[in-house]
Every structure is written in C-alpha cells, then in structure tokens.
Point group: C2
C-alpha cells in the first residue's frame, strides 16, 4: 500500500484538477485514478484521468465523479483484496479506515504479487510443506528441512497404520504370496486418484468456481467419474492377471479392491478439502499426501477382506 495518490476537492473544475495533477502528480504512484475527499478526508468520490480527459474543462469535479466507490477496509486480508481486483477489473483500489477516511491505495501490480504468492502457498501446502514463499536458493538447507520434516513425520507415522493392517493378514499372504505384489499398484492408484480429485477441488475453491454448498453436487460428480475410471482400470488389470497368472478369481478380487479404492479416493479428495474450507481451514492442506495416507489403509483393508472372502483363504 502507498499513500502516493492525488486527492481532489469536489468544487474544483476539471481545469483546476489538471493544474493540481500537473503540480503534484510527478511523485505519485498513479494519477489515473484521483480521489475526492471532503474536509475530514473522508472518501466521497473517484475520478479517473479518463473522466477528466473526456470532460469539458469548466465542469465541476462533483458533477463527473463516481460516488459508487469500490474500496477495501484496512482490516481486509490480502487474498480478498487480490480477488477484488480480479472481480471488478480495476487497476487501483482505495483503502479506507473504519471512518471511511482514505489511508492509501493498492495498485494492481501488488495484486499480481499477492496472487502469485497465494498460488505458491497452495503449491507448497499441497506438497506437504509448511507454507513458505521464500526464494528456493536463498532458503538455507536447515530451513528447507524444517519446513518439510513435520508433515513427513506425521505422514510416516500414519502410514504405519497401513503396515499394522497388513500384519493382520499374514496368513492370507503366507497362503497366497502373490497378493503382496498388488499392494503398490492399489496404493499408487488410490493416491493418484485422490490427488486428481483433491487438486481440482482445491483449485476450484481457490478460483471461486466451486462453493462449499456444492459439496453433494461435486461428490456425485466424483463418484460417477470414479465408477468410469475404476471399472476401466479394473478390467485392464483383470485381463493382465488372466494372461499372466490364468487366475480369474484373483482378477476379480483385485478388480473389486481397485474400484472401491478409486471411489473412496475420489470421494475423500472431494469431501476433505470442502470440509476444511467449511471449518475455515485452508483446503490446500487436504491434498494428495493426507488423502493417500488415509486411502492406503482402507484399500489394503478392502483388498485383504475381499481376498479372504472370494479366495477362501
């Protein structure tokens, strides 16, 4: 924010305004939007250089000024400010205090920086890094490690739950060792499916294309997408298993686990970011890493249960 703006009085003529701009404009950040203030410096109108240039010289400012002012309050957060620029397609935004006194202006190049910082923050959060928008090389190795270790630890400890679940099915994979070889495929596919959904939902929320009230509409969409995608993957997998192991039952077991995993991953990828938003948390934390960890446990659980049931282990 800067206070390098041109302020005018409502009883000036356009010609007087030009003289004022010529006198004080050289040091100002922008002269293209001038602010009309009353005696107590309250913002009562906005006049653009375009209005001035297109008006007759003897007109009064109060007759050409726009009193329908788009402004932001000093207390507003910067994401809201950046969105205001985008919404109204304006290049400068006045900042007023609680008494509507003009305290400064924000120009659109500041808004671009905020938008870029916001995006960077989302990228890092979604990759399980605690938020930072520091320059990569300027950040020390220790600082990088600090920003990354917390989530890695949390996620590592959580993924041990999946390990714990696997040990419960020792008998199953002792009887049919090949079962173990499907775990990476199930885990990766679940992770990728969850990542796809959560990324689109998080981005949609950030761009205001998706609202939290759309939860069920989005979920219904994701479930249908999951069904299509899941069945295609399951069929291709079953064909592969049939060719490689000549074992239809095994193909069915893996297929059921795959479809269930895809539906679960896509549903969580949709629900968790929207729930986070509803709880006033940043949706970006509910991205691939967390969803992968949850889906992993569930997919392994589903897989071994289906295997025990169908293969009668």
């Amino acid at each position: 924010m800067t206070n390098e703006f041109v302020d005018l009085k409502e009883n000036m003529t356009v010609d007087e305004a030009f003289q004022e701009i010529k006198k004080i404009g050289i040091d100002k950040e922008t002269i293209y939007t001038c602010y009309v203030l009353n005696m107590s410096r309250k913002l009562i109108g906005v006049v653009t250089a375009k209005d001035l240039l297109l008006a007759d010289r003897d007109k009064l400012i109060k007759d050409i000024m726009d009193t329908n002012i788009i402004s932001v309050n000093t207390l507003e957060d910067k994401e809201f400010v950046a969105k205001t620029f985008d919404k109204y397609d304006i290049i400068v935004l006045p900042v007023v205090d609680m008494e509507n006194r003009l305290v400064g202006i924000i120009t659109i190049d500041d808004a671009i920086d905020v938008i870029q910082d916001e995006n960077t923050e989302d990228f890092t959060k979604m990759a399980a890094i605690t938020p930072t928008d520091d320059n990569y090389f300027k950040t020390s190795v220790f600082s990088h490690a600090k920003h990354r270790i917390i989530w890695l630890l949390v996620l590592m400890l959580s993924s041990m739950i999946t390990g714990g679940i696997i040990t419960n099915y020792e008998n199953a994979f002792a009887a049919i060792p090949i079962l173990v070889s499907f775990i990476p495929m199930l885990m990766d596919t679940g992770g990728n499916c969850g990542s796809q959904s959560s990324t689109l939902i998080i981005r949609g929320l950030a761009m205001d294309e998706i609202k939290t009230k759309d939860l069920f509409r989005a979920l219904w969409k994701e479930v249908r997408i999951a069904l299509i995608v899941g069945i295609i993957l399951a069929v291709i997998n079953a064909i592969r298993i049939q060719i490689q192991y000549n074992n239809l039952k095994l193909g069915i077991v893996v297929g059921i686990a795959l479809v269930a995993t895809v539906i679960l991953a896509k549903s969580l990828g949709c629900i968790l970011p929207m729930l986070a938003k509803k709880l006033k948390l940043d949706p970006a934390i509910m991205a691939a890493p967390i969803i992968t960890t949850i889906v992993d446990s569930c997919s392994v659980l589903i897989f071994f249960n289906v295997a025990v049931m169908i293969l009668h282990i």
Copy 2:
C-alpha cells in the same frame, strides 16, 4: 488483444493530443498509454496520459514520447507476454507484427487471466491430469474421466513393476513376514519426499527463481536436505521398531532403506523437472505421480536387498 487504443502523430502538440483523446478516447480500452505511429503505422513511440498531463500544452509529442518501447511480437506465446508485464511492472503492452507495425494492445487484466490459467494448468498437470482449464462443473463426467484415465493407466501399469519386484523376494517375506508391513511406509515417505522437492523445483522454474543451469546447485541442496530429513525419519523409525519389536537389526534395515529412499526421491524430484525443462517439455509433468512410481520400485529393491544382507535371510 484489442485494437482499441489511441494513436497519435509525432508532430501533434500536447493540446492537440488532448483534443484527439477527447474525440476518440471514449470507446478505447485504455487512454492511459497512447501510441505514436508514423505514416506506415510503424510504432515509433509511447506517450502516457501521465506524460501528457505533466507536460506543457504547447510541447510536441515527439519531444515527450518514449522511444524505448517495450513491445511483444504477434508470434510470442502468452506465458512470455504475462511474464513481460510482471518484469516491467506495466499495465498495457503493445503487440507489433514483424515489420514493427502496431496491431493491437494487451492490458494487464488479460495478463492476470493468463497467469491464473498457467497456474491452473500446472496444478492439474502435477496431479496427473491432462491439461484443462475448463470450469469444474461445466465439464461433463465423461470429459473429466477422459482427462484422468490416461495417466492413471500409465502409472498403474508402471506400479506393477514394483509388484513384480516384490514377488522376487517371496522367500524374504515368507521368512520374515513383518518386512511386508514396512512397504507402505517406505512408499509413502518416498512419494511425499519426491513431491516436496519436485513441487518446489517446478514452482521455482515457473517463477524464474531457478534456471536449468542451476541443476547441480539445486541437486546438492536437495541431497543435503534429504540427508537431514532422512536421518531424522530413520532414527524415529528405529526407536519405534526397537520399542515395538525389540529388534535393532530390523530398525537398521528399515533406516538404511528409508535414508536411501529419501535421497533418491529428492534427487529425482530435483533432476526430472529440470531435465524436462531442458528438453523443452513442461516441467510440471515430472511431478509427484511419476516420481512416486519410480521411487517405489527403487525403494522396494533397496529395502529387500538390505534386508537380505543384514538379516541373512
């Protein structure tokens, strides 16, 4: 791009320029930057409304115009154009053809849209979705499925390699079934580490904070970060294993596999996006999903080999 700009002649006075603006300016997208064209409509100078407002009325345009023009060519891609706005902090950019004739202008709100589209494209690519910046709800279920299935298939087939590797070590986990339970933790940690590094590198490349010539500098940074992070994770894991299974050797096996996985994941997360950029591909495709799939195979291979060696299976 629009051709709603004000063009002036170099022999006009400032006052004549004001009259011209007043006459034709009402329909123009911007009047704040006016373009000075010669007889063959070649761009020879730029005059801002600020220059005009601060100058004396009888000055000639050619004496106040800026001949040091920042312009883009009609053939330039939109990312380059958006970056030009950011670099020079300007609000409008003239577009010229090969003969330097002015064909139109681009305003900064177009640039913001391009920046947001670019970011959306990176987000989706990094989540293994073929690029799209369509609105989430306006895109049909089938179209969503189509954009997601290709990468899921490729990654699913690739993750079968990891499954194949596991089957080679059937004897190992037949002897010590608990080994299997560490696979999800190794895979997830590798995936998360790779995701952290590739995200920061991809974002750094997009923001021009990291150049492809910095490859070794970035790699050296990532390796050191990986060492710190890997050792912390390995020690905590070993303590957990010691408490739960009272088995120091097992803790060492998992610890070695973990450190190796973290170093590999972070190195690939650094090298692959930079290599893609060098090959004129979009670095964003070398994100978490691909790196996870590669790291999975390697980490399982490392883990079982270390296990066989140290535990004498």
